[in-house]
């Protein structure tokens, strides 16, 4: 059975995660679109921490008999991997869009007539 203290810490940590994410969205520092996976992570961890019988049952399903909280870690890790993978796809899309913007600007500048050519100052 899961130690009570592990459950309490698990609940507190998940609630904290959910609150921080909500606050970031409220302050417009995180877009809803990118908050959803984090919120899902928080909710799933909260449920698994609070519902002690459920965690035990799931641990039994996957063959974790000695220490059910290990399932909590595994689930948390899985969600973090999902978030990271999601970000990789976001970065890839941004990269493509960025290059396309540079290409279009180059074409536009040529069309409207550039100022005299010279080396550009390094971007950023």
């Amino acid at each position: 059975m899961t130690p009570v203290r592990v459950s309490i810490v698990g609940v507190l940590a998940s609630v904290l995660l959910i609150l921080v994410v909500l606050e970031l969205v409220r302050g417009r520092r995180l877009k809803e679109r990118y908050a959803l996976l984090w919120l899902a992570t928080g909710v799933v961890l909260l449920v698994l921490s609070a519902w002690r019988g459920g965690l035990n049952t799931i641990a039994g399903w996957v063959g974790v008999t000695s220490y059910p909280p290990a399932v909590l870690f595994a689930v948390a890790t899985l969600f973090i991997l999902l978030v990271l993978l999601h970000y990789s796809t976001v970065i890839s899309k941004l990269t493509d869009e960025n290059v396309e913007l540079a290409q279009r600007i180059a074409l536009l500048e040529e069309r409207v007539g550039r100022p005299p050519t010279g080396p550009r100052s390094p971007a950023g």
Binding site: T95, D96, V99, A102, Q103, I105, A106, L107, E109, E110, R114, P116, T117, G118, P119, R120, P122, A123
Partner: protein
Amino acid sequence: MTGSRAVAVVPAYNESGAIGRVVREILAARPGIDVVVVDDASTDDTAAVAEANGATVLQLAFNVGIGGAVQTGFRYAVEEGYERAVRLDGDGQHDAAEIGRLFEPLERGEADLVIGSRFVDDGGSYRPPFARRLGIRVFARLVSLLGGQRVTDTTSGFIALDRAGIELFAREYPHDYPEVEATLVALRSGLRLSQVQVEMRERETGASSITFVRSLYYIVKVLLALLVASLRRYPRLEGARR
């Protein structure tokens, strides 16, 4: 030119030492051709030199890599309505005098993509170091296998395209280490391929960008790209031919 406008696309990154001569040689070899130098955010005066020698210059705001630069040129060709394009390196290793031979299969309407290959016949004088030769051969075999047609040189970078080819590459072109994958994409999209034996010159200025770690990344990246490209579905371009 015989009725159809042609453009030479020349990607260049810090090639101010070579680019002037490259532009002049293209203009001399092919009167009437337009030369577009795509300056991939050089920190030297590549753009000014190219322009002074008669090229149109497209300047990228930041370095996007050789593929992204080349694609900018193809997009320009699409927008400006060019019927033919040839791509040469900005360092002068491709011989502008051979552009005419690359255009011949296009003019006869036999091909949409012509590769200036170093290995069509054994008479070529290009003898790279063993490892590099092996790599070039392996990629060529792999693309031949996956694309269903024998390709002798997928890394030459000296290619000519008709309108269908230009439109394809303006849309689909890998951003880094693009040549091998682009060849496979062309074959899978149904472009007709032709190969012409060419010679390559030694680099005049600058250094080759290939180092050991990069070669490793290159090999892995290209293999992954080939795998993915052969799993993807590409619309066949039969309708684009004329």
